[in-house]
């Protein structure tokens, strides 16, 4: 460790550090500009650059109150979509992680034929573009599945509710979740599992008494991952929401505001920032776990 530090000190070059700092500043300016604009009065945003804020500071929260609480009959206020984003995201994190943890446990510790094949297929499914599944999956939700006159899945009448979005996110989140959690669960020492078996624990108590408590860090990492993914998603919310405003997440509303002429920058900047605030809090508070999840997904040990 000491040698490591020393070596780094020798290499440390002020020029490289300076460049890194400059890049970091450049990287932040666009977001910072949005934040500054969102607290300027409408007139100022549209008539002068946000950087003039520093020579001529004007401050207001009107943009936020307006975008959050003022709506029309056709366009509900943003706080309704804010709620929707939460209502969409929580089950869309809980469901896939629970099911993936189950499957990962089975794939890591049960002995059965075809186990590796299933694992490889799930691994391969990770990268199948969502686009391939959209139309058939939508038809499943709206019409059910009938093959050769036999109804395998009936029309459940759930279009226009949160349920199709939850199910879609669960399905799309599963492959990565199974893969990551499997990698984690297969590292549990064999002795621990075997000791549990010898003590007479069945596979179910083994799961709840030993495996579940041990997987908490992995669950935390993946939850953050899935949370950000679902919260920031546009495609699934747009297609599986049935085009209905009662269930649309904030991303759908913001995208719509960008497209419509009626919303000026004062509402767009504030609205975009509202949609970013939760991920930003999660990101800064739990960055360590987020990075860990990211690394588990892309770097092999």
């Amino acid at each position: 460790m000491a040698i490591n530090k020393k070596a780094k000190d020798i290499f440390a070059s002020p020029v490289a550090s300076a460049i890194a700092v400059i890049v970091a500043v450049l990287w932040t300016i666009p977001t910072f500009g949005l934040l500054v604009s969102s607290i300027r009065p409408e007139q100022d945003i549209n008539q002068s650059g946000w950087w003039t804020f520093f020579t001529n500071p004007t401050f207001t929260l009107d943009n936020y109150t307006q975008v959050l609480f003022q709506g029309s009959t056709t366009n509900p206020p943003l706080f309704q979509f804010f709620f929707n984003s939460f209502a969409l995201t929580i089950p869309a994190v809980v469901f896939p992680i629970t099911l993936a943890l189950f499957a990962a446990y089975a794939l890591a510790w049960f002995n059965f034929r075809g186990k590796d094949t299933i694992f490889f297929i799930i691994f391969g499914l990770q990268v199948v573009p969502l686009q391939l599944t959209l139309i058939p999956l939508l038809q499943l939700f709206s019409k059910g599945l009938v093959i050769g006159g036999v109804t395998l899945i009936p029309d459940l009448g759930i279009t226009g509710t949160f349920i199709p979005i939850w199910i879609a996110h669960t399905i799309f989140g599963l492959p990565l979740a199974v893969f990551l959690l499997h990698n984690f669960l297969s590292q549990i020492p064999r002795e621990l599992i075997e000791a549990g078996r010898v003590d007479g624990a069945n596979w179910f108590t083994l799961f709840s008494k030993i495996v579940l408590p041990l997987s908490v860090p992995a669950i935390a990492s993946f939850s953050i991952f899935q949370f950000l993914w679902v919260w920031n998603d546009l495609l699934v919310g747009l297609t599986f929401g049935g085009g209905v405003k009662q269930v649309a997440p904030m991303t759908v509303r913001i995208a719509e505001m960008v497209g419509s002429r009626g919303s000026g920058w004062e509402l767009l900047t504030a609205g975009a920032f509202v949609s970013m605030i939760v991920p930003l809090i999660v990101f800064f508070a739990l960055q360590r776990y987020f990075v860990r999840g990211l690394l588990a997904g892309s770097v092999k040990g």
Binding site: A7, K8, S13, A16, A20, V23, W27, P30, G33, L34, Q47, G49, G71, P76, F83, A87, V94, T98, L99, F102, A106, F110, F112, I118, I122, G124, V127, V128, L130, Q131, T133, I135, L140, G160, F162, I171, F172, L174, N202, W203, F204, N232, L234, L235, V244, K245, V247, A255, V258, W265, L268, G271, A272, S275, P279, L280, F284, Q287, L295, V299
Partner: protein, 336 residues
């Protein structure tokens, strides 16, 4: 459907939120109750029943969902790509012929190719450079956090942020509100209408994706660099290798597999991106990409055949990556 939407639009936000909140709570409670009951019952039945019950409880739900929700739809889309707009008749390769002959779609394919080449290469190079520079910094935390931050922002949010940066003021005498226009004037160049002029606009959209992805590349590569043993680096140093040489001959080869993972992951992510294009230009002005055109064909034109064909083309693009990844994983497993 239109009817319910119309009625719902008249409800106040609270009238919409309340039943949704009930549905949320009931669904979560039901899910928890089912899981709890299944466990309770399953751990009480006799051992022989448990032996098959364990597959039904642990493995079956995920496998069934994936079969119904991913495998079946993928196969169905393959079939639909050979059928007409409303999937009532087979049309052979017509949709594919359409994809590769209509000038508009050729532009879409060209743009996608540009995206998938430029984004992974530039983000990885930038990420690599920043990882290397911060690797030797005393307190890289804040620098890395700031560069990594766009990863937490939605593509839609990023689209708004950058649309503001690129905003254009047609009246030259009025002050600019867009950063790019202001900078351009500051160096004495009349700003172009950034998002309208091809092919520059595609590159500007690509810049947004690079802005997002660089943080990811940096974090992953940086972690790999930390794993390069110090002895190796020191040995190279004692051999008289300079900074640059050491980087190229020692560091790069040792993190090679990570760099490939980063490149492929970014490439896959880039192929699927449609939010940025949709938010910033709506795919107009020659900026369209496959993922966005697939959406328009399927859900605006309601042409399931052409939409499916575009989706299949996306799949064909990622197929080699899937094959490569599976081979890598196989190799790793046998090494273990």
């Amino acid at each position: 459907m239109i009817n319910t939407a119309f009625v719902a639009a008249r409800k106040t936000p609270w009238e919409v939120i309340f039943p949704n909140l009930i549905l949320l709570i009931v669904s979560l409670a039901a899910f928890a109750a089912i899981v709890y009951l299944v466990f309770l019952l399953a751990s009480r039945v006799n051992v022989r029943v448990q032996e098959w019950l364990k597959y039904a409880v642990f493995l079956a739900p995920a496998v069934l969902l994936l079969l119904v929700g991913l495998v079946y739809p993928t196969l169905r889309t393959l079939v639909m790509s050979f059928m007409n707009a409303d999937s009532t008749e087979f049309v052979g390769f017509d949709n594919y012929v359409w994809s590769f002959t209509i000038p508009e779609i050729l532009i879409v394919l060209r743009n996608t190719a540009i995206w998938v080449l430029v984004v992974p290469i530039l983000s990885t190079l930038l990420g690599l450079a920043i990882a290397y520079m911060t690797d030797r910094m005393k307190r890289p935390g804040i620098v890395k956090s700031l560069i990594f931050l766009p990863m937490a922002i939605s593509f839609v949010g990023a689209g708004v942020i950058w649309k503001f940066v690129y905003s254009f003021q047609p009246n030259l005498d009025k002050p600019d509100i867009g950063l790019f226009s202001a900078l351009s004037k500051a160096i004495g160049v009349n700003p172009p209408n950034w998002l309208l002029e091809a092919p520059m606009n595609t590159l500007l959209l690509i810049l947004v994706m690079i802005w997002i992805q660089t943080g990811f590349c940096m974090v992953v590569i940086s972690a790999a660099m930390k794993n390069v043993p110090d002895e190796v680096v020191e040995a190279a140093m004692l051999d008289g290798a300079g900074n640059w040489k050491r980087f190229l001959r020692v560091t790069i080869p040792m993190i090679r597999s990570t760099v490939i993972v980063v490149l492929t992951t970014t490439a896959i992510g880039t192929l699927k991106v449609f939010d940025i294009v949709r938010t910033m230009t709506g795919g107009n002005f020659e900026t369209n990409v496959i993922a966005n055109e697939m959406y328009s064909q399927s859900f605006r034109q309601m042409n399931y055949g052409q939409g499916s064909a575009l989706a299949v083309i996306l799949l064909l693009c990622v197929l080699p990556i899937i094959a490569y990844n599976i081979r890598q994983l196989r190799r790793e497993r046998t090494e273990r």
